[in-house]
């Protein structure tokens, strides 16, 4: 089932495979080429319905754990391991470090374009999660990767915000969130409330991961 919601974009998949083939004769498998992938419609604690008494939306209340290194969803049973790099639940994204996990993970928000980051600046400071007050990927409208419009009730990723990630094993990736809605299309402000609820919390994002541990992509 989960495969349905995550797929490597075809182009990057091909380059990756081709590269892997050409290098397959090497004895030491140190992969120096960054991996670029697009993840579509990653469910992040999606809304299950409205509570009949309070009228508030409810969900399972569980994070979706994701491995940037393997480009795959990680089982919730492995939440205490270093198998995952990011965990998603509604607008909140955890990194595997600090109060959130046992890994070396962290992140910071870079203002600029995805392609602008060729090398992570040496003076960059990776923040770690310090729940419940501060997260490496800052929460709240306008603070981190998104804005929330109270009039239309829509969450929109902020243009030119790149999340620079340190994975659980201490490697680096850059990531751009493209959409928070199912199908990768931000809903129109005039969409129904029901649509805004049921189609939200579906992440589409692209990332480039450098498997060799350097900060250059």
């Amino acid at each position: 089932m989960k495969k349905l919601f995550t797929q490597i974009s075809l182009v990057s998949f091909l380059t990756f495979t081709l590269f892997a083939c050409s290098k397959s004769s090497d004895t030491t498998v140190v992969n120096n080429t960054p991996v670029t992938a697009t993840v579509k419609d990653l469910m992040a604690d999606t809304v299950l319905g409205l509570d009949p008494t309070s009228g508030m939306p409810y969900s399972a209340g569980k994070y979706t754990f994701y491995s940037i290194e393997n480009n795959a969803i990680v089982s919730n049973a492995d939440s205490a391991t270093t198998k995952w790099d990011l965990a998603f639940a509604s607008t909140k994204i955890l990194t595997n470090g600090g109060t959130s996990g046992t890994g070396k993970g962290g992140a910071f928000i870079y203002k600029g374009l995805f392609d602008d980051i060729k090398t992570i600046a040496s003076d960059s400071v990776f923040k770690t999660d310090n729940a419940p007050t501060a997260y490496a990927i800052t929460t709240g409208s306008g603070n981190g990767w998104y804005t929330y419009d109270g009039a239309s009730n829509l969450i929109t990723p902020i243009a030119g915000r790149i999340i620079v990630i340190k994975t659980a094993s201490g490697k680096y990736a850059k990531l751009e969130i493209q959409s928070y809605y199912k199908g990768g299309v931000t809903l129109s402000p005039t969409a129904t409330d029901a649509e805004k609820l049921t189609k939200s919390r579906y992440y589409t994002f692209r990332y480039t991961y450098q498997p060799n541990g350097t900060t250059t992509f």
């Binding site: 995805f114 501060a134 709240g140 306008g142 243009a159 990768g184 805004k196």
Partner: protein
């Protein structure tokens, strides 16, 4: 209107722009001037146009003027030369209306029943009127003619909209009295199908106005005016938060009282003076209950008192001047401030002078300056220079340069508002923000303070410099063309900024002087009288606006946008659209038909091009990738007859094409019809 000899049908240049050169304008100079001698751009809308267009409220007539755009949200306001409603002062007989919500004065409040004319001065006019006269001045002048002792009118239309007026005048040699009573009610309307959220809720409004004039002698008169508007609005509000919609029901009750007294004395033909006192009180009370029974109340009480003297002195045929000085006491109580029991106060002292000099017959030069000082924010100097050059009988050139300002309003100084219905964010007025946030911080409730929190200080007035150049061309008796270009540069714009966050992450906002913007545009108005029956008129405005800081950021390459896939790119300046809610193109066109026996008919069209409404890429800047409201044309028509015995009948249809846009044009109902009947007793001269 029939009794009004100056509007003989064959010279029926009755529209807003032409009037005729002998029409008198008071707003441009704070003193009566012939329109042909006024040095700044002025539009006059006379009562005949108001009647023939079937306009009931101030909003109805303003929407059909070139360069004016109605805005909705917190009542219906008017945008002038690309500036928001906050920046246009609205006067009734020269005295300002107060009681703005979020900067907007609801123009539906103003009934047009006893209006003689509306004068619109475009461009900064703070040199005469002080704060708020940054984009311009709209002055509503009530009728004080003695020719109609009694007038009664009744109009009924779609949505059970009923408007009834009585106007009576009593005049003797020394005493003049006029009373005006207007009752307006409507069921409101819902243009959003299957929604119980009405766009306009049921409203009843009562307006009464009384004018007394007593002539103590040939040279001395006492004038006393009262105006009261009382409105009841049945509120049925839906607030959505995180997908949860809370419905509230209740009533909003607004009262607006205006009292004016003046003593006028003419010492000679060269010198006259007038002492005026003005008191106005606007009280708005929203009293709602949510469906679960929780009360929600919102109170605003704005009191404004002013005393003023103005002296007009004519030194010679070529040189005249006015001097004025006054003091304002102003106070606001609001449930959105720290305590609704405590009135926030301000006092303002001001003085102004303006001189008019005609060195040669063809040239008139006007220069003036005003100084406003007050207790709560920095003082302001507002100079203005203007000139009129009559090249010949066909061509006139006007040039004016002036400064306008808008004082920080009480909301920007004292707001203390936390929106429990939507995310618990807070907005604090600038003069309270540091104190309140400091207290919250000592209680451990503050999660973050931004660098701009430390820049919070007493606000400066927002100020603008405007340049207007216009050219009036009358190629022949039947044609009139007026072209105008303008530029307004605005600095110290007061904007809401996030200054910190609670522990929960909820945002904390306050107000800072940060913005710099400009509006730049051109306007053309034309009128052509085909023959004694047919008149065509039209107008067009092109406007470019922008925030100078945003433009600097775009040019520096630090503003980004997203494509439909959500991938970011650098925003280029060609994709920048400037300020939100501004249409680049706006046009109006009118065909008017009249006959000698009092029949009239007209068709009017108003066009507005698309405007940015929502920032969808989160870059805080409006660009071509954002959400726009679609451009549209609305059409209006009416026809009627004014009989010689004083009876008038009229039918009309507004928004003929039934254009609606529920999210962006809540002030535009679908197609509506009306008929009206009016009777006026006419004094035989």
């Amino acid at each position: 209107m029939l009794a009004n000899g100056q509007f003989a049908p064959s010279k029926n240049m009755n529209d807003t722009l032409y009037a005729n050169g002998d029409s008198v304008v008071v707003t441009a100079n704070r003193s009566e001037r012939k329109l042909s001698n006024v040095t700044v751009p002025v539009t006059i809308i006379n009562s005949k146009t108001i009647q023939q267009n079937g306009s009931l409220r101030l909003t109805d007539i303003l929407q059909e003027q070139t360069g004016l755009t109605l805005t909705s949200g917190f009542g219906v306001g008017v945008q002038l030369q690309g500036l928001n409603p906050d920046y246009t002062i609205i006067l009734i007989n020269g005295e300002p209306l107060v009681g703005r919500t979020a900067g907007v004065l609801d123009l539906n409040r103003v009934a047009l029943g006893n209006i003689k004319k509306i004068e619109i001065v475009k461009g900064p006019s703070s040199s005469l009127y002080g704060s708020e006269a940054m984009a311009g001045v709209i002055n509503i002048i009530t009728d004080a003619s003695t020719s109609i002792p009694l007038l009664a009118s009744l109009r009924y239309g779609t949505y059970n909209t009923l408007d009834a007026s009585v106007n009576n005048t009593l005049a003797s040699k020394s005493l003049f009295y006029q009373g005006f009573y207007n009752y307006y009610t409507t069921d409101g309307y819902s243009i959003r199908p299957n929604s119980n959220n009405r766009v306009t809720t049921p409203i009843t409004r009562l307006t009464t106005s009384q004018q007394f004039k007593y002539k103590l002698s040939d040279n001395t008169s006492l004038v006393f005016n009262t105006r009261l508007t009382d409105e009841n609005i049945k509120s049925n509000i839906a607030v959505s938060n995180g997908g949860v919609t809370i419905y509230s029901n209740g009533e909003e009750h607004n009262t607006d009282v205006n009292l004016t007294g003046s003593l006028n004395h003419r010492f000679s033909n060269h010198l006259k003076t007038s002492f005026r006192s003005y008191l106005t009180n606007y009280v708005s009370n929203q009293d709602l209950l949510t469906l679960s029974g929780a009360p929600y109340t919102d109170l605003l009480n704005h009191l404004f008192q002013r005393v003023e003297n103005q002296t007009d002195w004519t030194l010679s045929k070529n040189l005249s001047g006015i001097f004025g000085a006054g003091e304002v006491w102003e106070g606001v109580k609001s449930s959105r401030y720290d305590s609704e029991k405590v009135r926030k106060n301000n006092t303002i002292q001001y003085g102004f002078t303006q001189w008019e000099w005609a060195p040669i017959e063809k040239l008139i030069l006007v220069g003036g300056v005003r100084f406003d000082q007050n207790a709560n924010y920095a003082s302001a100097w507002s100079p203005k220079l203007s000139m009129l050059y009559k090249i010949n009988a066909q061509h006139k050139i006007k040039l004016s340069v002036g400064q306008g300002f808008k004082a920080p309003d009480f909301r920007q100084l004292y707001l203390d508002f936390t929106n429990a219905a939507a995310g618990n964010y807070s907005v604090f007025g600038s003069s309270e923000a540091q104190k309140v946030i400091g207290q919250l911080n000592s209680l451990g409730q503050i999660g973050a303070l931004y660098s701009n929190y430390y820049q919070l200080k007493s606000l400066q007035p927002e100020s603008s410099t405007g340049i207007h150049l216009s050219w009036d061309w009358t190629p022949n008796q039947k044609t009139f063309i007026s072209t105008q270009i303008f530029r307004n540069d605005i600095k110290n714009l007061i904007q809401v900024q996030q200054v910190g966050a609670y522990m929960s992450g909820a945002q904390i906002f306050s107000y800072l002087n940060i913005g710099r913007a400009f509006t730049n545009g051109a306007e053309i108005e034309t009128k052509y009288q085909l023959n004694q029956h047919w008149t065509l008129s039209g107008g067009y405005q092109f406007i470019v606006t922008g925030d100078k800081d945003e433009i600097a950021q775009i040019n520096a390459g630090t503003v980004y946008t997203r494509n439909t896939l959500g991938v970011s790119s650098r925003l280029t300046i060609s994709d920048y659209v400037g300020l939100p809610n501004i249409s680049k193109h706006k046009a109006q066109f009118k065909i008017n038909y009249v006959t000698e026996d009092g029949f009239f008919a007209n068709c009017r069209f108003v066009y507005r091009s698309k405007w940015a409404v929502n920032n969808t890429d989160g870059n805080q800047v409006y660009d071509t990738g954002d959400t726009f409201a679609e451009g549209y044309v609305s059409a209006f028509t009416s026809l009627g007859k004014n009989y010689k015995n004083g009876l008038s009948l009229q039918v009309g249809c507004d928004n003929v094409t039934n254009y609606v846009d529920a999210s962006n044009l809540s002030n535009l109902p679908g197609r509506t019809f009306y008929f009206s009947i009016k009777y006026q007793l006419i004094n035989k001269k």
